[in-house]
Symmetry: C2
Subunit: 643 residues, 2 copies
Amino acid sequence: MKFQVKFLPDNKTIEVEKGKSILAAAISAGVHINSSCGGDGVCGRCKIIVRRGIVVSQPTGRISLEERRQGYCLACLTSAESDLEIEIPAESRLDLSKISDEEAFLSRLKGVYEESAEIDKADFVSGEEAFSHSPLATKIFLEIPEPNLEDKISDLERVYREIRKRQDIPVMQMGLTNVRKLGKLLRSSDWKVTVTLGKRNDTVEVVLIEPSDTSDKNYGFAFDIGTTTISGQLVDLNTKKILGTKATFNKQANFGADIITRIIFAQKEEGLERLHHAVIDGMNSMIQDLVIENNVDLNNVTCCLCAGNTTMIHLLLRVDPTFIRREPYVPTANFVPVIRASEAGIKINPRGLLACVPGVSSYVGGDLSAGILASGISEAEDLSILIDVGTNGEIVLGNKEWLISCAASAGPAFEGSGVVCGMRATSGAIQKLSIEPKNLGVSYSTIGNSKPLGICGSGYIDILSEILKAKIIDKNGKINTDIKDKRIRKGEFGNEFVLVDKKDTAHGQDIVITEMDIDNLKRAKAAIFAATESLLKHLNLNFNQVKKFYIAGGFGTYLNIDNSISIGLLPDLPRDKFIFIGNSSLAGAREILLSADAYHKANEIAKKTTYFELSVEPGYMEEYVAALFFPHTDKERFPSLKI
Amino acid sequence: MKFQVKFLPDNKTIEVEKGKSILAAAISAGVHINSSCGGDGVCGRCKIIVRRGIVVSQPTGRISLEERRQGYCLACLTSAESDLEIEIPAESRLDLSKISDEEAFLSRLKGVYEESAEIDKADFVSGEEAFSHSPLATKIFLEIPEPNLEDKISDLERVYREIRKRQDIPVMQMGLTNVRKLGKLLRSSDWKVTVTLGKRNDTVEVVLIEPSDTSDKNYGFAFDIGTTTISGQLVDLNTKKILGTKATFNKQANFGADIITRIIFAQKEEGLERLHHAVIDGMNSMIQDLVIENNVDLNNVTCCLCAGNTTMIHLLLRVDPTFIRREPYVPTANFVPVIRASEAGIKINPRGLLACVPGVSSYVGGDLSAGILASGISEAEDLSILIDVGTNGEIVLGNKEWLISCAASAGPAFEGSGVVCGMRATSGAIQKLSIEPKNLGVSYSTIGNSKPLGICGSGYIDILSEILKAKIIDKNGKINTDIKDKRIRKGEFGNEFVLVDKKDTAHGQDIVITEMDIDNLKRAKAAIFAATESLLKHLNLNFNQVKKFYIAGGFGTYLNIDNSISIGLLPDLPRDKFIFIGNSSLAGAREILLSADAYHKANEIAKKTTYFELSVEPGYMEEYVAALFFPHTDKERFPSLKI
């Protein structure tokens, strides 16, 4: 049976199944009601007033007798027995989880800021069916035989029995909230219910029980939580289809550009709280956008799988990251327990689950574990390298026998942050570019073929390579101001080269690259190259012994390998050794979201991978300084460039 | 390090370990602070004001910036860094869990009411060491090796590793609350912590982490929650010693004397809520009394194990019992998940666990499973019967191959309720009595040898048998008013026999037995006898085939078997077949509290025991009516009585 529930003052009406809670109905209708306990009837924040209609409401001490007389109920414990008019009082509308907009006053990083935006094929690790289809949360529709005098097992065991007819689950759990509503729910839904089973720390929990068949509507989110960029993906857990992908800058950047400054900020008063809210606010708005665009009911989003570096995961969970940067650099957790997403403030179904990809150490996180999983290097006989180009650049070397990793603070330049005209790899970003050396004419293409708005990481690689070839810059990265061309000029941030004139851009501003940008990019590529070199040296290996070379990062769909080599980001190896795999962290997170086997494998990877601390390696600084040239101080290392 | 924390306005001071939460300190000091989420920082109800001293406080959205400036914190997220003065504001002192005293207006059952009172050896099933010592919650003191550059696993895995050095635990869980405080706690306590491990639905949870070594202080409660009587026992989980036992009337009796009337009451507005609070209030005051008497810190009470009939367990957990009395009589759960005790409102350590002994069916609950476990009949080759004499009398017949059970509504007379001078088997209760037939002189003994206050179940059995022998009553239970004796008179409730004159009683009132009492007792014994007979008949068995006959119930330490036979409560069998085992439900609950093996066995028992529905058995009513005589309509069944 279904009823019409109208929410006031929003004046939104939604059709609701008998037995569904008013809180769930409000979530479906996109009406905000406070709730901090995940609908368990504990926090008492989801007070509503029933203005018209009949409800059934579970008893609670959170509503006084006086309030009850005025029609107050808790939305999570109340369901419709007729059409309803529900008023949401002011105190239930104020969103306590949002922090003040003080950060708006804080200096913003220079760069083109957009709201979270759709990206095409942000990750595209080859879709081999390596893992079984067994998502973090699954829905099963149960038509339960009604009890009779011959078959009198209790409601709870009856539900368990029905589940076990379909799946062999030895350890099953159900929270008291679900037990409390079970009797009425089963009978009012005519013994036809959908259960959501969640994998929770090696046990299976009955996360949700809903009336009727909603098993065809089960969605999850995969997230890559980077220091600079957060990418999220809405996935149909039944079909494994990606419904949409978005990325947004991590608003934590307002409090510090890199991991270390954020850990320091976390120690200030309210620092941890603000960093926590900055990341979950970004995730929540991405979730909101994607469910609305795809017409998905938020109640049917039952789980979230997050990959991120160790600090990002601590901040996501509001766990103090202090000890990550204190010797001996030990995080609170690399293997984080599966929790309810609402415990971390993530707004999906209030009882939905949140899992994190296990990390290796304080500076090599679950994002790399996910990347290793997605690239498959942990399964290969041959020696491979994976470089994940991010603000915290992470590198892993190994094969199916062993894996060793390190991290280098590269800065956010290749993510389009901290560079004057930088932007993420999204619509309007220049991703390919070439320069005619004779007249310095610039040809480019943008993502989505729209008017240019800025430059993303892969665009910068092409630009650097091209201005180097055209001798617009020297090997040090300085712009040759002897060249008399209107494209070369002095700008607000020093010498710059104009790539696109304002008349041709989407926002009516020149798109340029400055000497400062070039310097930032140079440092980033040097950090990554030197780290890779040092890791190999540490093991008495060299680049030639590496059979496959995977490059990952938020570059969008395109990365020019030749250009990456010619600027010295990648080593000078036969080009067919290189495989660009996009956002491997997000791809790995999605695989884990969709498969318990992949989750298991990620655990093994995180346990197996050793960590090599670069900062205590004597040769690293030398390697880094030597790499602060285009392509490198030591020409011999780049023989094919013939420079 | 330790600090002095003073609570205002209580003006109580307590010494607190560094790292221990203020909420825990308040609990230790016996100072009440509201909290409904178990100290997870979710409910925001435990607000305190720091008046003097330094604290560290985890961030929370439950405290506004304005409040923070005024010194407000959440007690559960705050710990001392110096001596403190803490004010508990009015809003945090109001105990929302207590319902109004409206029930005081409701008619109280006639009977002698006491507050929960100490009882001697309330259960005394022989203390064979049948089960391993592995309590529901165990404490382990860990001296954790500090991390260094060679040993850098995270805090969480470090704790797990240390636990696994001592115990092989494959599946371990830890909630986010504990993860969040882990980093600081480990370091501020110099890597010396005590973890409490709880068995939770086939997994092991790290329930608590505390600074320093508290492993020698670990306590639990075993409860028998009866329709009329609640018995509780404080147990030292390390030594298995019973520190104290108390019993109290179940205040739910104010809302109905038996299961059926309570289920009906639960359907009224606030009915379920009031029944729930009636039982937990009783349990909580028993807990309070026992921890104070034994000088036990409530924080060190880490678990609770409850046995009760199915309706009592539903009401304890605030689960709607409606469907228990609707055909086909199916409860919501027989096998109840282990939950946090605070979820049910039980006030022990806010993160402590609550487990319930699994039940068989709607009318045969975990109290009988516990009794079967304690009596050992499920392990015996020979056929045995266990009769648990309670308001809901439960009977089980079987051996190690099979078990069959039934239930009979006997009423509360043998628990000393619903009878004019009835009381529980506690100090002042007449438990033995004899009458000199010639002069009707009464000799008696009371529990504790104190002045008599009333009559308990075993006393009533003796009285009935003696007044029958002295022909003060006939076989129907009517008082022979032809006897001219001042002890036989007409009273407020009809004809009565005076047992003790008011000048000899503790409360200065005559202690009498009335015809109405006799009628209630007759119905009770008839229900139990008829149920036992019907169960045997149903299986084509007779009493002679039963090798052992266990009698359980809240009779205190004494039950006269001969007298029980002569009034027709028990069948006329060789006396050496009978074994009185006291409160077998409480004894079984304690065994399960102390042993995972016993818990496992109780699960097997509940699964294996079949349920026989008496109400649909054609012969039962006939048997019942035939048993409404002393000892029975059919004399042939009691040959040894020579009547």
